[in-house]
Amino acid sequence: MSFHLFKSSEKLTIPSNKEELLKKPYTKFDPEFVYVPLSRNGKSLKEIRSVGDYVARGTLLALDDDKFPIYSSVSGYIKEKKEMEFANGHMQAFVIQNDHKQTFELREPLGKVSEVSKEEIYKAIKYSGCIGFGGAGFPTYKKYQKPAQYLIINAVECEPYLACDYLMGISHISLVFAAIPYLLKLTGAQKVFFVAKEDRELLIEEAINESKKHRNYCVEVVKVPDAYPMGYERSIVSYVLHKTYDKFPIEVGAIVNNIYTYMMLGERFLYGTVPVTRCLTVAGLVKKPQSVLAPAWTLASDLIKFCGGRSTKKPTIVVDGGPMTGHAHRQDFVTCLQSNGVLVFRDVHERAEPCWHCGDCCSHCPMDLQPVQIQMALKRKDIDRLIALNADKCINCGLCSYVCPAHIDVSNNVQIAKALVIKAKRGEKK
């Protein structure tokens, strides 16, 4: 426990609830239907295929304005087009009936590292449709538009319950390392960091062994302490490089990607597949909690059924993602490509007490914000004060709500404030 007279340096270890989950190897699941979304960030995509077509895994279904693609995650016929509830909102979707044949439409694998051009690597990343699997779903190619000095592989997985990245990591570490030389060539980076939590010994061991096999580039394995939110880009960059940045890590010459993203890129470079599967941890109030490797855009209820169904008769909510940041749903929904967990919890809402200004939220905020002050300013609708408090710097880690003894939804209030500030700032610019 660190102590600082003025800074909010109190790192917090939160119960991870995943000892069991880390021991169970992941299982594969092939659902009957998948639902491929036909819009991204509120904009509809240009459809390449239509209802009735036969598609294979990796067949191009739609493109956005930037030519960023979306691929089918199973093989079978497109049955219909209908409105579906996704983890991130209502969208039109292709319903594809799985024929369980697993036929794969492959792209051209990249050749030897010395023979491919930077251009080819960049295109391969972009047209693989790869997104950040850490949960944000930021298109990966956008990170690789500028040269960088450091590549950081994020295998921290600091959210409680989630174990899927660890399980995939220990069984497919060679794929991760296969991607590195291409990315080094593309960015011109010199140094690679593999960042994992100190108690994930097996993963660290695998990474060290694997890095010894590759003599032509250097991978440093960094162990980070078991604290939340250690897996956030900012925390990692400041822990590994001792640097802070304003918006994106590229400002300090670093590119941070999730370990699963590396795995998917490695697979693309070596075998020409595109990332259309995702390993998710299904846990909470289910009978057989485990990590499941499933095609992307599977229904949450299918996953829960696969894991033995709910273990309680009381009303439940289903959370997409980790418990600290994930959105809760009462209705069934389709998981996203970047979803990393489906968690079932009791549907309760604890009664919040009045805020007693204890300042716990201030002393734990990883961004050194003052959530309680932001909340008070929000109540008064005092935009100037919100801007002065830098409400837009919040990284939405949820820690302020976690520590709040009054059980107020502090981080949710900060989100609202953040949106207001961003809107106000945009208005100013115009």
Partner: protein
């Protein structure tokens, strides 16, 4: 009505405001129990031992009852306001509100801040005033600006000044024969220092001061118990020692300079130590200053807040007629809380301004002690 769906995060720390308050309540009760034992065993000059003990019990009962009474009355409004609901829902809501207003803690702190010798109605009025005016009128728990218990204590001091001081009798062996003194003048150490000069601070052995074997307000004198409780509460993260320690250190250093100014030589260290143990400084620093509701939220703000309180404690103790400055100074510092909060903007990861500002404030506190010491060099010790 559809219940709102829970927002992320879907895990919460086990610790709640309620559990923290209960722990605090237990700690205060321990302090009270020590005090009660003391009065039962030692008694005082005016009545028998048992009578003193009963007085202490009466203080507690009256204090708690009349601190909670305003809540009981105030929240009756629930029965008028909530329309289409079953009666048992209303009853539940009513008791929830009363219990989660934490006025019994206000009452308990107030009882510990007051001495034996007040009439029961005086305690009752102070306790009622504390909860009603300082808490409920401001909008209930969490919205109050002033620490309610301190408000109650200051109220008692202003409205019933005679009974605050003339009850217990002697404090040290050298004065115990002075009967006239016992009855008319303040017998708490601060009162005595105010009337008899600083030399009376040394009338009682230091160890007695430390274990609390002298008279004062019910809970203020037992320094060792307060220190143990403070350490426990700090480890459990219920109070922030940042405040307590800043306050104590500032007062210690300031009074050290004052004694040096008197020309006390090496006894200055002991004198300053006694000055910190004297009166309600320790109790105030641990249980009143750290009240989250009325102290700033950021760490930097807390440090500044404690320094402001220390500044006014010294000023009031040295330059005014009031015998004891802790209660007033905490109230004054409470006024500054919103201002301090307002001044701290942006991200709090820079430390240059906090260090400079705290240093400036600390120097201000030291200056008070030094100035008094240097201008009153004739004080005999």
């Amino acid at each position: 009505m559809m219940m709102q769906i829970a927002k992320a995060p879907h895990m919460r720390k086990k610790r709640t405001t309620f559990s923290m308050m209960m722990e605090l309540f237990v700690c205060l009760m321990i302090l009270y129990a020590v005090s009660l034992t003391f009065y039962f065993l030692k008694g005082g000059p005016r009545f028998t031992n048992v009578q003193y003990g009963l007085y202490a019990l009466q203080n507690l009962g009256i204090g708690l009852l009349f601190a909670v009474l305003p809540d009981l009355l105030w929240y009756l409004s629930i029965f008028v306001q909530m329309r289409a609901d079953y009666f048992h829902v209303k009853i539940k809501e009513y008791f929830y509100k009363v219990i989660h207003s934490y006025s019994y803690i206000t009452g308990l702190i107030l009882v510990l801040l007051l001495p034996i010798g007040l009439e029961w109605y005086e305690i009752a009025i102070s306790a009622f005033f504390a909860t009603f005016v300082a808490k409920l009128v401001f909008g209930g728990f969490g919205s109050n600006i002033f620490n309610p218990a301190i408000v109650g204590r200051v109220f008692a001091q202003i409205v019933f000044p005679t009974h605050m001081t003339t009850y217990l009798g002697d404090i040290g062996p050298s004065l115990s024969n002075d009967v006239a003194y016992n009855i008319t003048v303040g017998a708490t150490i601060p009162g005595q220092v105010a009337s008899h000069g600083f030399s009376s601070l040394f009338d009682i052995p230091l160890w007695k001061m430390f274990i609390g074997d002298y008279y004062g307000s019910l809970g203020e004198t037992f320094a060792y118990v307060i220190i143990i409780l403070a350490i426990y509460l700090a480890i459990r993260k219920i109070i922030d020692l940042r405040l307590t320690i800043t306050y104590l250190v500032a007062i210690y250093l300031s009074s050290l300079l004052m004694f040096v100014g008197f020309g006390a030589g090496i006894t200055a260290f002991e004198g300053a130590f006694r000055y910190v143990l004297m009166g309600g400084v320790l109790f105030g620093a641990v249980f009143c200053l750290t009240d989250p509701v009325t102290s700033p939220t950021s760490k930097f703000g807390k440090v500044i807040f404690a320094l402001i309180a220390a500044f006014f404690t010294m000023v009031i103790r040295l330059y005014t007629a009031a015998p004891e400055g802790v209660a007033y100074s905490i109230l004054i510092a409470n006024i500054f809380t919103p201002l301090i909060d307002k001044c701290i903007k942006g991200r709090t990861d820079k430390v240059l301004i906090p260090y400079t500002a705290s240093l400036v404030f600390l120097l201000a506190v030291l200056a008070v002690g030094l100035a008094y010491g240097c201008t009153n060099t004739g004080v005999s010790l």
